[in-house]
Amino acid sequence: MAVPLTKSPSLDGPPVSYDTDLERIEIELLLEGVYRHYGFDFRAYAYASIRRRLWKRAEAEGLTSISQLQALVLHHPDAMERMLLDLSVSVTAMFRDPTFYQVFRDEVVPLLRTYPFIRIWHAGCSTGEEVYSTAILLEEEGLLDRARIYATDINDAVLRQAKAGIFPLNRMQEYTDNYIRAGGKRSFSEYYTAKYDGALFSPSLTRNVVFSQHNLVTDRSFSEFNVIFCRNVLIYFDRNLQQRVHALFYDSLVMFGILALGSKESLRFSQYEACYEKVHPREKLYRKVR
């Protein structure tokens, strides 16, 4: 099968003439090469979504095959940087799934009050929207000064963005709406200052936040936590990698610690299901009980 010479008109993939078996080989070779050369391990990412993201990058670079993309990223670290952004950024929102935060406030906060000191891990925090959401919630519950939040991501560039605390102004209407539905107690605009097209969030929200690089695929546990947030990150991993990360989370939670997953993620297909009980029937909040 010849490599197609014209660019696909589609936004996310090659033309139908592209051989899918060959494509799989190319993707595996690219990910193997990236791992061996740069140390970033995407080999156990969910195939359908990483494939979309690789093609998006290939098309943005004006390329028509994954092999071409492999040559580019292996020889040009700056191209690798760009691809790393595509592969590791998860798109999220402040107070995404407001009912989740409402239940967190109602059901989890009372548990957290019983601890003198609270350690929280936002694993795969991306650009930090949910870190700021948690910080706001804890601030309103009077718990932020008792808490330390570890916000980690594989990607340094998004961590810098998270640390800066500037979010697009045009999202504030949506976030305000989410905040209110999540049981917010103040006026959302108290937390940020609008400047040009950005909303700068109050630096005091991150006074107890530590931003640091951590790779869920290759790095070990680095502490024991009362709460671990990992929402809509595991969806990008295949089932084996999900199991490995669940082992990491289990080892990193104190007994009776809370694991918070995305609304369509579950422990149902995991061997750790029996180690947790549900905090709430609908929201994906689990408590480690054994």
Binding site: G13, I235, K264
Partner: protein, 192 residues
């Protein structure tokens, strides 16, 4: 040709159309059905519940990595893209495609690429052109396409766009599409 998966896309008017389609399906179906309907990002599981009321088939909102099982109806959750892999489903929060998440095109393309000629795509009522390109991909891979007769659609734009992209699609009423799906040769029937 045995079919292994049915993917259905719809937007405006979709709930009524889906109820009719689901009601028309037999209680035992040899393939999984994956449904993508555009809806507000904060809408919840109510749609799956409403559809469940119409059928003995098991209707659920798709969870990440859920195995695809014959006779189950999987509804794409609001605010996620739903990707079909061979034997299971995957979710993604990547950017909306043409303002839609879930995007019908994304799901249809992934189904066509995972199941090739064993894929059946169905486009029902809707107010935009999402799904046309995905349906094209299904047919290009040798799969089967059904489009709701535009004159019978609450909003004919989506079926019409699908027909522009896939002129060879079978154009039927919802009732006829349900019957055609029921009569498709499926792997289960073939094995029995």
């Amino acid at each position: 040709m045995a079919y292994e998966i049915v993917v259905v896309g719809t937007s405006w008017g979709g709930l009524t159309a889906l109820r009719e389609l689901i009601t028309g399906l037999p209680g035992a179906l040899g393939v999984p059905v994956v449904v993508v309907q555009h809806r507000h990002r904060q809408s919840n599981h109510v749609m799956a519940t409403l559809l469940q009321d119409e059928t003995p088939l098991c209707v659920c909102e798709a969870e990440d990595k859920a195995p695809l099982e014959a006779g189950n109806v999987y509804v794409a959750p609001a605010d996620y893209h739903l990707l079909v892999e061979r034997g299971f489903l995957s979710l993604s929060t990547d950017e909306p495609v043409r303002f839609s998440r879930p995007s019908i095109d994304v799901t249809f393309r992934s189904a066509a690429d995972a199941y090739g000629a064993h894929t059946v795509g169905v486009i029902l009522t809707g107010a935009n052109a999402d799904g046309a390109e995905g349906l094209r991909r299904i047919v290009d891979r040798g799969g089967l396409a059904f489009v709701q007769l535009p004159a019978t659609a609450e909003s004919p734009a989506m079926p019409a766009a699908a027909l522009d992209a896939v002129p060879q699609a079978r154009v039927l009423t919802i009732e006829e599409i349900a019957r055609a799906i029921a009569e498709l040769p499926s792997p289960v029937e073939r094995a029995s």
